[in-house]
């Protein structure tokens, strides 16, 4: 494994590269979710990336600007920035991995950022992508209010989601579970209305839970209209990005590897 910082001096990103054991089948950039979802899933996806490397994939995990070990603080995290960071990670992997084909994998907001990345890749693999960004933002606010209700006595909870929105509207950051959320992130997420005209790759695999099926089919239709070949599938699994646990969606993983074999690499030893 290699650990390093990459990107412009003004925007250094932390990356972890797991080189493939043996001949490289394909490269894969892993785009993480944001906030506590990133923390909760970090160990599991690090472990998965090590497993993928053992199976011949060259895997790059990175921390978007303002998260993890990368420069900046949570107040600097923006959606457009995360999309650009995904593109920069693809460039790094293309240059350093020796892989002829590169896929972008994204989880939750990381998946949405991957779809919007100004990059050129060979496939997109999206797990439970956040497809309604304004709703996602409202959920972040609800999370803050719910946490106050759990931590404080009911009569001490003075902040409402409306108050938080007003604060953002007036140009001030807010605190959501220790993350400083900027007015810019608020504006980007709440104003988001359409996917880009062109996706980074024309082949897309989108996986989710049964409760996400309708939203996934809607997005798949929209991406198909943009010329993409989209395969969707849902699996029963725990809401694995919410809990700090060892639950891992093995069905998602197996389906993704099989699909990558079909689309990109071929199984180990092929070619």
């Amino acid at each position: 494994m290699e650990h390093f910082f990459f990107g412009d001096d003004s925007r250094k990103l932390f990356g972890v590269f797991s080189p493939p054991s043996g001949k490289v089948r394909a490269g894969l950039v892993l785009c993480p979710p944001f906030g506590e979802e990133m923390i909760a899933t970090y160990a599991r996806f690090a472990r998965w990336s090590k497993g993928l490397a053992d199976q011949g994939f060259a895997v790059l995990r990175y921390h978007p600007y303002g998260t993890g070990e990368s420069d900046g603080t949570s107040a600097d995290f923006t959606f457009s920035g995360a999309a650009q960071d995904a593109a920069n990670a693809v460039e790094w992997l293309r240059k350093h991995s020796g892989a002829e084909q590169i896929g972008i994998f994204g989880l939750r907001v990381g998946a949405a950022a991957a779809v919007c990345a100004p990059a050129t890749a060979d496939c997109l693999i999206l797990w439970s992508p956040v497809l309604n960004l304004p709703l996602y933002f409202r959920d972040l606010l609800r999370l803050r209010v719910a946490k106050d209700m759990v931590q404080l006595k009911t009569n001490q909870v003075k902040v409402t989601a409306k108050d938080l929105t007003s604060r953002l509207e007036s140009g001030h950051p807010i605190d959501v579970l220790g993350y400083e959320i900027s007015p810019k992130l608020y504006r980007e997420l709440t104003a988001f209305s359409a996917w880009p005209d062109s996706l980074p790759a024309s082949r897309v695999l989108c996986l989710g839970l049964p409760s996400e099926q309708r939203a996934i089919e809607g997005a798949a239709k929209s991406w198909s209209e943009r010329g993409c070949s989209v395969r969707t599938q849902t699996y029963r699994a725990p809401v694995f990005w919410e809990d700090f646990s060892s639950d891992f969606p093995h069905d998602f993983a197996q389906s993704s590897i099989t699909w990558m074999d079909e689309q990109l690499a071929g199984p180990p030893g092929a070619g």
């Binding site: 494994m1 906030g35 506590e36 160990a43 070990e69 605190d175 220790g178 700090f244 646990s245």
Partner: protein, 318 residues
């Protein structure tokens, strides 16, 4: 300024990040941050990263690291508590030697605090020991330990029943029950399944963890160096520490040569998960570690409820 580092513990290669102090310092003091559970070295809401930046700015060397076979460290490992203790000792030795440190302070959160105490009290060599400890939300109650396979939920039936039936204000709980029905409907079946699993399947790692955590109270009493305890006042771990681990100073902490200082962060939770709480925790840690460097443990600010020298280790009024 940060450096990416790696060091070994037995055959494992561990990955870490060192924050270098800004400017020259007379005494070279290092702080090793020991994270909670199987988590990242930057921590929930980036708390270790923020603390490390603040400590480096104040003139300290800081090491954060991932345990063997987890996160950004090499390989894959089903980590046990004793693995973590061994990794921590290797981290201290590496840090001390590589950076020529005069002394090393251990700073832990939750399970990380328990690891820091274990690795210091039972260290085989002086170079593996922490000269001082800052323990946040220390996990010392073996009845509430859990593992990732249980989603870190408390799966000890006695403790769950005690917490849900006897803990807190019963009247308030009943009043709020209708509002929480959805929450109960969603979580109770899952909790029941986990508890069933805990009692029907043998889980040696959980048993090892329970055994080791049960010793933390005694190790706190045995530890000879200066110590700061930080809890969030709303953290159930504080209540557990106060009522089960050290009621009426059962451990004799006030009789120690260096009685521990205690900070309760107002309205604080287990991981200090708001910007305000985080800042209070960082301020307290900084002030105390700076005092340790200068040979004088400071009085902490008025914004804290505090008990100097841990007289009773019970909360006092503002």
């Amino acid at each position: 300024m940060k450096e990416i580092v790696s060091f070994s513990c037995r055959s494992w290669k561990l990955h870490g990040v060192v924050h270098l102090p800004e400017g020259r310092t007379e005494k070279r003091i290092g702080v090793v941050l020991v994270h909670e559970n199987i988590n990242t070295k930057f921590g929930t809401h980036g708390v270790f990263r923020k603390l490390a930046d603040a400590l480096a700015e104040a003139g300290f060397f800081v090491l954060r690291f991932d345990d063997r076979g987890t996160c950004d460290s090499e390989g894959v490992c089903d980590l046990t508590f004793l693995d973590r203790v061994a990794d921590c000792r290797s981290a201290v030795t590496f840090f001390r030697n590589r950076y020529g440190l005069d002394s090393v302070v251990g700073w832990g959160l939750c399970l990380g605090s328990s690891v820091a105490v274990h690795s210091s009290v039972e260290a085989g060599a002086a170079r593996e020991c922490f000269e001082a400890l800052v323990l946040c939300s220390v996990l010392a109650d073996s009845s509430i330990v859990s593992l990732p396979q249980y989603g870190y939920q408390n799966v000890n039936l006695t403790s769950v029943l005690r917490g849900s039936l006897l803990g807190g204000n019963l009247l308030r709980k009943l009043r709020e029950a209708p509002r929480k029905l959805d929450h109960y409907r969603k979580n109770l079946p899952k909790l029941a399944r986990l508890i069933f699993r805990r009692y029907t399947e043998r889980e040696p790692a959980l048993e090892q963890l329970r055994t080791q955590i049960a010793r933390v109270g005694q190790l706190l009493a045995e530890y000879q160096g200066p110590m700061l305890l930080i809890f969030g006042e709303n953290d159930p771990y504080w209540k557990s520490f106060e009522t089960r681990i050290n009621p009426n100073d059962k451990l004799g902490l006030r009789l120690k040569d260096h009685p521990p200082s205690l900070v309760l962060v107002k309205n604080g939770d287990h991981t200090f998960s708001s910007l305000e709480q985080t800042q209070e925790m960082i301020n307290a840690s900084l002030a105390w570690i700076a005092g340790f460097r200068n040979g004088r443990i400071p009085e902490l600010g008025k914004s804290y409820r505090r008990i100097e020298d841990a007289v009773s280790l019970a909360p006092v009024a503002d």
